[in-house]
Symmetry: C2
């Protein structure tokens, strides 16, 4: 296995992305806190540059490339948020970017990625391998592959979400009991767990996956990497990853207290709740931790909890479906 | 005329509401800034307690009542956001509150006001006088009338929006050229203008009203208080006030550089823009300053601008109408 990032690497990432990534606020969820007799805080990464936390890891990764590598450009595969993160980072750093995206990506994510100046190549999620397509492009054009989560700098970049949240909590005099994020490939929660364990070792970390796509839950329970059966069939497009990879699996195994699951219906309810009470636009996959807490999947009574809402790039129709819930 | 609040009264309000009102963040609007070749900042008061800036003034006002007055309780009239601000403040301070609201208030605002423990009495906007109803209740029950804008403590409380925004801008090393807010009765912009002129006298202040409800624009142009013809007919329910009152008229006359107007259609476009690019849920009346800038009603090229998005309490159907725009 490649060397694993540590807490100090998250600190280094924070320096690297400062002035490019936004410092998102830490919000108190007043209504939810009263409802659950808890102190619930929200880290709204939907307010991040490109509308998702993915900019943090992507910018950290790309800014570590050598001058020679930068000239070669980058290629990435992503259902949309990593795509936008890589495209926007490449644009800022003056590099070419090719992004391999599934044909069924939300229209907004496809359009935004093009708007950040990237060349977009689409593929069929069920029949084609995005890794193969990216490898082929890398071989033909000489550009650098930027993984969506299994990468030293990507993981440590995503960890700045928790680094920021914990320092903001500390400013408010708050010591968190629980820190919760969505899980796709595990880049976000792995990086965050490094920051949480570095700053506040007693804070427990939980991840949340969509029902039927609980590869990480099954992997951690069994002690070996397990895969999902399919890559489609949930509205949580941003977090439908086949399986964790060795780095994220190892870090999650070391640091997570547990993984919960939520249904698509519970996610829609959470999206509507975020609209109604938090006044935030959150995409399905970014809402799973909120959905888990709203639906009592974990007992938070009397606890201080931070929920990461990881992105807000959602199509109109999906959003309307949530409002109709 | 009653004595007018000054900059020092905004500072005093900030102390009074600290720990009750939220400190909302100052966000950079990346896409809008690039589109307009400007630096556009957003002060999202939709993220404020009760989903609107109105909590600031209401809490400042209610917390100034004597122990004897608190026992008598309060009565207020409002289309919805002041209602929620007063109801939530009264609940925190352990007082009774009666709120007089139009029958056509957004359902969410009526429900939230009840949820904060207030007694809600509805009236017909076109045929009944909310002032008369409130006065009658005050007389019968002995409770204190809390005006929605024409009040020393309400105005100075609302001014904390700008106080916070300017101090946050300063932390980022930003000196604002323009500060823009919606105008209803003028409480928000009057209070903000005291803070802006106190901290940054060269920053220009513009207000925005719905087309056909430009009572303040006409009042400032003519030098005397002018009224709107009607109280209904725009989607901007939160800011359909008949006319400014002596205090807000005087402060606005002294401090404003101008007033702009926007159509309902332009407001819907701005709501959708806030959803798509800012990931914020903003109600129609709260979107007018954003609508004005988006539609080129004022030249912001090369300027540093702060737009107040003053609230986010909007019904589903209105929000869907914006998404369909």
């Amino acid at each position: 296995m490649k060397s694993l990032p540590e807490f100090k690497d998250v600190l280094s990432a924070a320096e690297k992305i400062a002035g490019y990534a936004f410092e998102t606020p830490l919000l108190i969820a007043q209504d939810l806190s009263e409802k659950l007799d808890a102190e619930i805080y929200i880290k709204p990464e939907c307010l991040q540059r490109v509308g998702a936390f993915k900019f943090r890891g992507a910018f950290n990764r790309l800014s570590r490339l050598t001058a020679e590598e930068r000239k070669r450009g980058v290629v990435a595969y992503s259902s949309g948020n990593h795509a936008q993160g890589v495209a926007a980072s490449a644009q800022i750093l003056g590099m070419d970017a090719v992004i391999v995206m599934p044909t069924d990506s939300p229209q907004m994510k496809l359009q935004n990625t093009k708007d950040y100046g990237a060349e977009v190549i689409t593929y069929d999620r069920e029949t084609e391998s995005r890794e193969d397509i990216a490898d082929k492009i890398s071989e033909e054009r000489g550009c650098i592959v930027v993984p969506s989560f299994e990468d030293f700098y990507i993981i440590s970049g995503q960890g700045t979400v928790a680094l920021e949240a914990l320092s903001q909590a500390e400013e408010k005099g708050v010591k968190l009991d629980l820190f919760m994020t969505p899980i796709g490939g595990g880049g976000l929660i792995s990086g965050c767990s490094l920051a949480v364990k570095g700053l506040s070792p007693k804070t427990e970390i939980y991840g949340v996956e969509p029902e039927g796509f609980n590869d990480v839950q099954r992997s951690l329970e069994s002690g070996e990497i397990k895969s999902n059966q399919t890559a489609t069939g949930s509205i949580c497009d941003a977090i439908l990853t086949f399986h964790p990879e060795p780095m994220t699996f190892k870090i999650m195994s070391d640091n997570l207290s547990g993984v919960l699951t939520v249904s698509d219906q519970e996610v829609l309810v959470a999206m509507k709740y975020a609209w109604e009470k938090l006044k935030l636009v959150v995409e399905p996959g970014a809402c799973v931790a909120l959905a888990a807490v709203l639906h009592g999947k974990i007992d938070v009574k009397g606890k201080k909890v931070c929920l990461v809402l990881s992105g807000g790039n959602v199509d109109e129709q999906t959003f309307k479906n949530a409002l109709d819930t």
